[in-house]
């Protein structure tokens, strides 16, 4: 009260009166809030979204990322998959900076790239800054009608150094899966064995832009579609990198396309700094190889550790 007298902005008596009235009123707004139900607020949001879409009143960035669409349409369907089906647990999310460029490097598995979607959803929903993950995808993704357009709207772009450096230098959080199709389409018997890490293009992009590399280890994705065979002829016919055979697909048809409900862990490791190597570090192939190996080893060791801690594939 002494403070109120020193800076007499409000009449103390009236303030007190208001406060007492406020106390009385407190239950009322709560009642009103339950009376302005959640569904109505959601309806308002939905209608506003529909109006924006009809009028074309939204912004996309130069890579084609449509934030409005991603947050309202593309992300919500992943929620039940993330929370109920795979029961994803994230570890070390605080290793992702709140702002500024960073490169997320993760292992890739599961026949269908659900691991990339789950990582993106995990960061968007659980990281304090709710950052969108800008994934770098294979050429095949962008060549495919519908999928390619959707991937761009969801913030993905082609895996090439020009795009990676552009995203990183503009302060985005970029995700790469350097194993590519070798990782995602490997047979079940090779599960959790990291494949070759490309040519280290992601390391040179990080070195050029001086952003930290965050190694990410994903456990659980290997078991969603255990790939026990690969029909090469059919894959070649359809232009796919592989045609998977799982215990249930194509045997059970569309039913076989339901992923097994394994329990997932996504661990974000300690950031590896790349801004300590000086100006032309990206031109030093030995450094690039060493860093690539370091990232790869970190992910592999973390995978082994997570696997020894896991007691059951489905219960965790």
């Amino acid at each position: 009260m002494a403070g109120a007298r020193v800076i007499p902005l409000h009449d103390p008596e009236r303030d007190a009166a208001r406060r007492s009235r406020h106390v009385e009123v407190v239950p009322e707004p709560e009642q009103q809030q339950s009376a302005t139900p959640d569904w109505e607020r959601r309806l308002t949001d939905l209608l506003a979204f529909a109006r924006r879409r009809i009028a074309g009143d939204y912004r996309i960035d130069e890579f084609g990322f449509d934030r409005d669409l991603t947050e309202n349409v593309l992300m919500p369907p992943l929620k039940p998959l993330y929370e109920k089906w795979f029961r994803v647990e994230t570890i070390g999310l605080n290793n992702i900076p709140l702002a500024g460029g960073a490169l997320i490097v993760a292992n890739h598995s599961g026949t269908v790239p659900l691991d990339a979607l789950m990582t993106a959803y995990g960061i968007a929903s659980e990281h304090p800054a709710h950052r969108p993950l800008r994934g770098l995808g294979a050429d095949l993704v962008f060549r495919t009608p519908l999928l390619g357009a959707l991937a761009r709207k969801g913030g993905q772009t082609l895996a090439c150094n020009a795009d990676a450096e552009r995203l990183l230098s503009s302060g985005e959080l970029v995700g790469v899966w350097p194993e590519g199709f070798k990782g995602i389409g490997k047979p079940f018997k090779d599960r959790y064995k990291l494949q070759r890490f490309g040519r280290g293009g992601f390391v040179s992009a990080a070195l050029k832009t001086g952003v930290p590399i965050i190694p990410v280890s994903i456990v659980g994705a290997e078991e969603i579609y255990p790939m026990i065979g690969d029909i090469k002829a059919l894959a070649r016919l359809l232009g796919f990198p592989y045609f998977p055979v799982t215990p249930f697909f194509p045997l059970l048809g569309p039913l076989g396309a339901i992923p097994l409900p394994s329990k997932w862990y996504i661990e974000f490791g300690e950031p590896i700094r790349t801004d300590v190597f000086g100006e032309n570090a990206a031109d030093d192939p030995m450094l690039v190889f060493n860093l690539t190996d370091q990232v790869r080893e970190t992910i592999q060791q973390t995978l082994y550790r997570l696997l020894t801690q896991r007691r059951n594939v489905f219960l965790g």
Binding site: L43, I54, R59, D139, L146, A149, C160
Partner: protein, 345 residues
């Protein structure tokens, strides 16, 4: 260095004509010559004021005589065009673009008075494919060399311009790679396309489109002519529109056509003389194209006044395109539903 005698090619079209008009209004320039195969439309001719029109074909060696006798010191080559003059005009267009440029450059090389060459090129030289990076910088090349049409013309034109630059190192050569033009006054394939009531697109693709307001394009060409700014520059507005988004902003309806049916539909629109898309422009509708304009800002010293979105909105308003679904109706429907919902509370 302000040029004394400027020669502008392609003056019977929008850009060349209005550019000549701007130079004619500039008292520092002594003489403005406009060249084209056909005379400009009457209103354009009136705007061009004191500019002299020379009816000449740049494919003809006559152009050499014009350049040397008039003591031309600056040549603005703005006639490289994407719009053929009718259904059979493709071959003629290619000849005008490529052979015309060769003749013009040969004439420039012969004349020692020529000090500066400004070439209107296009960002189509980067091609358009799924394997391209999202944003092109000036040092990038196309993944698939455009095999036909305007894009190939432009690649060849740029090749000849580079050759000219090597043979005449004393001439300042500015090559401007423009994105697609839009604006209330300019007439291009794209402005006709968006004016269709139902706009056909390719099913499963959504191109990223970067546009440049035609007034900005004129300003860039003018700046390149009046100052010494040699080099290759991308020119485009800030920001990007998706094709589907642009169609919505124009209030049109989007008609997705399966890829297999695209040639048929394209043929229909061509024969109906509505819109004539060449194969490379069709590819543009699949993938789109975005260029980096850092050099334009930093080195060329120009920032477009209109962003892509503003330029497009200016085109929509300027053309008086009436949306098929009135935004008022949408807003009213939204309010009605919310009021109804409030009653259920």
């Amino acid at each position: 260095m302000t040029p004394k005698v400027v020669l502008v090619t392609g003056v019977s079209r929008f850009l060349g004509g209005h550019l000549a008009a701007r130079f004619a209004a500039n008292p520092d320039i002594e003489r403005v010559l406009g060249v084209d195969t056909e005379p400009p439309p009457r209103d354009l001719l009136r705007r061009m004021g004191r500019a002299e029109f020379v009816r000449a074909d740049i494919r003809n060696p006559l152009i050499s005589k014009v350049i040397s006798t008039a003591n031309v010191d600056t040549v603005v080559h703005a006639s490289v065009t994407a719009s053929p003059a009718g259904p059979t005009g493709r071959t003629v267009m290619k000849e005008m673009n490529v052979i015309g440029t060769m003749q013009l450059l040969a004439a420039c090389q012969k004349s020692p008075k020529v000090q500066k060459l400004v070439v209107k090129s296009t960002s189509a030289v980067y091609g358009s494919s799924s394997r391209d990076p999202a944003v092109f910088t000036e040092d990038m090349g196309p993944k698939d060399l455009p095999s036909s049409g305007y894009a190939k013309d432009a690649v060849e034109v740029e090749g000849y311009v580079r050759g000219f630059g090597r043979r005449r190192p004393d001439v300042n050569v500015t090559t401007l790679r423009f994105t697609n033009f839009i604006g209330p006054r300019i007439d291009t394939v794209l402005t006709r396309y968006f004016a269709l009531p139902v706009v056909p697109t390719v099913l499963g693709y959504d191109a990223r489109v970067q546009l440049l307001h035609s007034e900005d394009a004129l300003a860039v060409l003018e700046r390149a002519t009046l100052h010494n700014l040699p080099g290759v520059y991308n020119v485009g507005g800030d920001g990007v529109l998706l094709l589907s988004q642009a169609i919505r902003r124009a209030g049109r309806l989007n008609l997705p056509v399966p890829s297999a049916a695209v040639p048929t539909v394209g043929g229909f629109f061509r024969s109906a003389r509505l819109v004539d898309f060449s194969p490379d422009q069709m590819r543009f509708l699949n993938w789109g194209r975005v260029v980096d304009t850092t050099l334009l800002r930093k080195e060329f010293g120009f920032t477009p006044r209109w962003t892509t979105q503003q330029a497009f909105d200016d085109y929509v308003n300027g053309r008086g395109l009436k949306p098929l679904i009135d935004p008022e109706t949408v807003g009213a429907a939204e309010r009605t539903i919310l009021e109804a919902a409030a009653r259920f509370r």
